[in-house]
Subunit: 372 residues, 2 copies
């Protein structure tokens, strides 16, 4: 497996070239409007003094870091604002490989392709641990796979693509396994606002010095194009304190700092967005989950109802989710999903549907007709 | 040497804490207003459809890449839009180390500290080649230093901190040396609009497959905070074609893509900014060069008049540019410069003055008084 974009791109291009209407359930970009504060922040920034158009501090605008630290209940010094959650994961994974003795990265199967692509690019050994039938990575399975060769364990909660959420107990176990093997737990929590089960628990709550949590505003604020994410590293005073300094240096030498208009707008939105905005986004997606799952039930598909995030993986009777069948579903059914094999062996045969389209009901109707 | 920020920060903080007025000539952030198109672009972007708030293509917005390609007279496929010139240099230097057999990076002494910091971070061997008395890196000196161990040669034209510009002949020689030793010439051309001598010649004009040119809009458009830069890689069809693909992959796995509001605003500014804007910026800086150099002449300082860029390195009689003396110049003279030793051994004893302040005449007067 290489990395995500080309395979996604290939399916999206195919859907666009189809000579019929197709509901795009491939890409993971939110389809709703960002909070008003994002636009207000950009408007104000456009009128700012010339000095505000110059470098932000390398680790991010102070007020933005303070708001992030307050939300995550951590010391502000532990927060680095990054060019999206992607860079946050990059800093965390490279940091873990640099700091800890092992050279192996443990990932979940099915896997978000960027994790696997990055691990390959970095020359790390990759071990994929299959999820259970409910789409959850089980701590016992991670424990069986991890060894002193392990430098990094990556978990994603809520999970893309399975929709699993890990509760506090599972998170504590993941962190304990990392500690036992002198490794780093990287917890990508970018979908944390999309928790339908009410059981999300940040890895930061483990208070482990072997944990980095990553997150961002791409999904929560519907601004994937802004590239504002962050990583929370262990305290510089603790036993793994040099992870933070090394990440700061890597961030500075790679990017200097993150784009300031985007940082400014996100800070404004954090200050002004009422909880109701996030609740409406979550409820909208919960409704879409209901609609799609209703159709999946009607056609006899196997799937696990997502606890969080905005993806559903499904297996249809006698219709494995190969690229060929996905193309047929586009041409004949008018619905575009992503072949599960793009997410590794455990995904093979399934199709992943992203719920970030207002036309989920149309897609549901079409699936009923196609599989009737 | 580690990297730039902390040492710069240390001097800037000292100057701010001084209990007198100080002209800051330390930092390299432009003090003038960006072109109107930058603000107009942001204003329009703030009203854009939600879809425009989502991911730009990984290599950058197509229209922005097309404008860059047209300006540099290269095929658009060779252009990657990066998170500032910093990431462009990072992609180029890491790409050269990955692709070519050597493990050494050849840098100019005095050196822009980020180059040296990055080389150290990447574990490369670093060879510093001193400039001549006029602040120029001589091709003969590079030829004497380069070997088959060399993977990357970095030049900066116009040069920070010496102000040297390399003409077409020198550039052709640098590229030839890179080709002879199976290495990459990385030419950082971020100050190309600030050419007082009229002799700037892009490394791209060499048409060598062993050249990557990097650039950005931080200085030209006075938007260091936006982080919009770019790298022009050799054609994918040529003998070094995999450099481009590898850089695309690294960019995607590190940053996914660059912040879209900033890309959008820069594209607008490229489309709408009249040549007059750039000419005024250049003339303003040329006037500041005159004013500062007048004072340096009056106090008997040794310096080379910059051909380009916006820095002047000077040596004062019996007043070496140590941190201690720089602090004295702040406290007693009211002018803050950067100790030359921050730029490596060839800079030791000099002080670098950045001309990005409207108060250059005040600084000139204060230098005359201090050194009277």
């Amino acid at each position: 497996m290489d990395y995500e974009e080309p395979q996604f791109f290939r399916v999206i291009q195919y859907a666009r070239r189809a000579d019929r209407d197709v509901v795009d359930m491939v890409s993971g970009s939110p389809d709703w409007d960002p909070p008003a504060g994002v636009r207000d922040g950009l408007r104000d920034y456009a009128e700012a003094d010339a000095a505000q158009f110059q470098y932000a501090p390398s680790e991010g605008l102070r007020r933005l870091r303070e708001r992030i630290a307050a939300r995550r209940d951590v010391a502000v010094d532990r927060v680095i604002v990054t060019n999206g959650t992607g860079e946050a994961n990059h800093l965390a994974m490279t940091g873990g490989l640099d700091h800890f003795p092992g050279e192996e990265i443990v990932l979940t199967d099915p896997v978000y392709p960027y994790y696997a692509g990055r691990a390959n690019f970095l020359g790390a050994e990759t071990t994929l641990v299959p999820v259970d039938d409910s789409g959850h990575l089980r701590p016992a399975a991670v424990r069986a796979a991890a060894s002193d060769e392990t430098a990094v364990i990556v978990v994603n909660t809520p999970n893309n693509p399975t929709g699993a959420i890990y509760g506090a107990d599972a998170m504590a176990e993941f962190a304990a396994i990392a500690e036992e093997h002198d490794a780093l737990l990287v917890s990508d929590e970018v979908y944390d606002h999309f928790d339908y089960a009410g059981r999300f628990s940040s890895a930061l709550r483990t208070d482990s010095p072997n944990v980095v949590a990553t997150n961002g505003f791409s999904k929560t604020m519907a601004i994937t194009g802004f590239r504002i994410g962050y990583a929370v590293f262990p305290s510089a005073e603790g036993p793994t304190g040099d992870l933070l300094e090394r990440a700061r240096t890597r961030h500075m030498l790679t990017n200097i700092t993150t784009s300031r208009p985007a940082q400014y707008a996100v800070e404004r939105a954090l200050a002004t967005t009422p909880p109701d905005y996030y609740a409406r986004c979550r409820d909208r997606l919960a409704d879409r989950v209901d609609r799609l799952c209703g159709a999946l039930d009607d056609v006899g598909a196997e799937y696990t109802r997502p606890e969080g995030g905005f993806y559903v993986m499904a297996r249809f009777p006698d219709f494995p989710g190969t690229f060929e069948n996905v193309y047929e579903l586009i041409d004949e059914g008018g619905v575009a999903g992503m072949p599960g094999e793009a997410f590794g062996s455990a995904g093979a045969g399934a199709i992943r549907f992203a719920l970030v389209t207002p036309r989920v009901e149309t897609a549901a109707e079409r699936l009923r007709q196609f599989f009737a």
